[in-house]
Symmetry: C2
Amino acid sequence: MSVLPPGRIHHMALVVRSIDASLVLWRDFLGLRLETIMDIPSDRVRIAFLGVGESKVELVEPTDDTTGVARFLASKGEGFHHVCLEVSNLSEELTRLGIEGLELIDSAPRRGAEGPVAFLHPRSCGGVLVELIEAPGGPSWSALGMKPPTS
Amino acid sequence: MSVLPPGRIHHMALVVRSIDASLVLWRDFLGLRLETIMDIPSDRVRIAFLGVGESKVELVEPTDDTTGVARFLASKGEGFHHVCLEVSNLSEELTRLGIEGLELIDSAPRRGAEGPVAFLHPRSCGGVLVELIEAPGGPSWSALGMKPPTS
């Protein structure tokens, strides 16, 4: 399998204590476009996406103290959490990266808020938590029963 | 002064022990396009830029142990260092952010490897070190005697 370059930085995610307080910086002061705020009860977080060019900044606010993100916030404080790169075929990419010996947190695509996603372990990525998301139209969307956004 | 949204994520910078070793992940495994590797002797670092869509990933390798980046690597290990947003008028942006009360590391544009830049303090940015760079054609380029790249 050949290596297809990722299409873009889909988003970078920041862990924050409070989305409302963080919007003062990212929306009001720096001028990023607020696109959406939503609760993800299954993950016990509230998230916001702000657009900048072809990418987004995701703000992640833990809604209780039981999750990995909440422990991250408690131990390290607010800051960078992960970066997400968009790829055209996530299953193929994961197979190839697994063969290369990378440690995969998710060995197969799973349903994310914005499409099929999988995480790579920071131990294999120079201390950076890397998420991969499949571009709309890729094969994992239908395999997971997901529909790309219409807009 | 009105808030102009930043045009794009110009780059995100990662501190690495070795650019050569890190290229195996970012270029060979993940497929990002290597654009340039250069020594910045004044900053005692070696850097690489890899393209992904309209953005870049910057790898920063300290070349001695006296700098802030070297201390970052010694204390925290490899990982995310900063994100850089592209703005159209850096001087105006810094003036406005200063009035809003943000802590500026650079209160005026200075010469960066890729254009006029300034850093905002992570204390004012939710734990994230934020760099701003002026888009080619902005007023700080000529004010600092810098020429935009021809390509």
